[in-house]
């Protein structure tokens, strides 16, 4: 049997309603990346992680389990699981299974982004434990009532903290806050920009020239919904890195398969495999700009090609 759509969506929506995130994590896990950076609390401009990078090690541990459940008799018990989850936060246990090395890896990417923004002389704060997940997955799955309530909660939190500008780190949070929130929250007028847009606009220059050869993987959401295509290329072009465009790129980029991970893991892996082959054809290490793309393509590549977050390359070239 395939994984039960109804029960899984139910668990995600219940979590968002009760615990303010589809996969609730502790404050410590959400803010660990910022240790030692001395980022000011709050402010008119904030760096907003939306928890996506921090969630990947947990999603990775979870998806390993879910793939085993797909087409197994256990799918019958997901309804029971949903009831249990109403009382016990099952994500907590999944969090315990997450790889510590992977957590460090994804925390480093967030640190890279914060340090790059500092290097570009951008004045920004961080909301620490007050930050909330954006609700993107629940919106995509069409659970609009839960999403609408959550969107209002997030908007109220911004208002309470006097936030006027948000710098996002991933395409899903960027799209949700910039394009979807104004449809659901009356009068939502917070300015939202991806860190790639902010860095490109800053005109910052790299410290060193690098000799990397990169096959660039555009995120569907950045490219097709948010028009973030040129900015990462502008930033990379200055570094001396050789950029290879895969057959499908920019506005016609090919999905990483990640959006199907929670409901149809084997289909998700099939799409990721197809995309990985296209990226390998163009040559060089793969550079991603979304944590979901990163984890999906890394798993599909199985070490046959290096897949890295763009922030790692930028951090090296721009000397942070």
């Amino acid at each position: 049997m395939p994984l039960p759509t109804k029960d899984i969506l139910g668990i995600l929506a219940d979590n968002l309603n009760q615990r303010k995130s589809v996969l609730p994590i502790s404050n410590a896990a959400a803010t660990r990346w910022s240790k030692g950076l001395d980022l000011p609390k709050g402010g008119k401009t904030v760096l907003y992680t939306g928890h996506l990078y921090q969630l990947i090690p947990i999603i990775d541990a979870m998806s390993g389990q879910m793939s085993k459940f797909e087409n197994s008799p256990i799918t019958k018990y997901f309804g029971l699981g949903r009831n249990v989850n109403k009382f016990i936060n099952m994500t907590f246990f999944m969090g315990m299974m997450a790889s510590k090395d992977e957590q460090k890896d994804y925390d480093r990417m967030l640190r890279n982004i914060a340090l790059l923004l500092k290097k570009a002389n951008i004045d920004f704060g961080y909301l620490y434990g007050e930050e909330l997940y954006s609700g993107a997955l629940v919106y995509d799955e069409g659970v609009d009532g839960s999403f609408a309530k959550h969107a209002q909660r997030v908007a109220d939190m911004f208002k309470k903290n006097g936030v006027e500008k948000i710098i996002t780190v991933d395409p899903h949070t960027t799209h949700t806050l910039r394009t979807v929130f104004p449809e659901f929250v009356k009068g939502f007028d917070v300015e939202v920009k991806s860190y790639l847009e902010v860095l490109a606009e800053s005109g910052m220059e790299p410290d060193t020239q690098i000799t990397d050869e990169l096959s660039i993987h555009d995120s569907c959401v950045y490219a097709r919904h948010e028009n973030v295509v040129d900015q990462p290329r502008q930033l990379l072009a200055k570094t001396g890195a050789k950029l290879n465009e895969p057959r499908l790129c920019g506005k016609n980029t090919h999905c990483c398969g990640g959006p199907l991970e929670s409901l149809f893991p084997s289909e998700s892996h099939r799409i990721a495999g197809n995309r990985t082959e296209q990226l390998k054809e163009s040559g060089g290490n793969v550079a991603t700009m979304c944590p979901i793309c990163l984890v999906s393509l890394r798993k599909a590549a199985k070490g046959s090609v290096k897949v890295n977050d763009l922030s790692d390359t930028l951090a090296r070239a721009y000397g942070v």
Binding site: D140, G142, S146, P259, L263
Partner: protein
């Protein structure tokens, strides 16, 4: 025999999200779909437009298998906002089949 559902038909009519009127059935969407979904979006949207709820229910799995990647809409010559239409169908199924809102 398929029956027309007035509930689905009126939900589509009242919606400011679902709109496939401009679809010319050219099939570009199917050709560029990374998933290779044959049913989505052309055939399914036609079923929705005429209110064939049974057909929608038969294809629940397909509706949730869409990546919402937007490759179809990017290449649609009629500029149909396909992902928004799929999201509308998910919302309809969540509310009417899964009791989720």
């Amino acid at each position: 025999m398929s029956r027309v559902s007035s509930k689905l038909a009126s939900a589509v009519k009242c919606s400011d999200t679902f709109n496939a009127d401009a679809c010319m059935h050219c099939g570009v969407c199917t050709a560029v779909c990374p998933m290779g979904i044959e049913m989505l979006p052309r055939k399914l949207f036609r079923y929705v437009q005429v209110g064939l709820e049974d057909k929608v229910r038969e294809n629940i799995s397909t509706i949730y298998q869409c990546l919402l990647c937007g490759m179809c809409a990017e290449n649609c010559p009629a500029e149909v906002n396909i992902a928004d239409n799929v999201r509308f169908l998910r919302k309809y199924i969540n509310e009417n089949e899964f009791n989720l809102s």
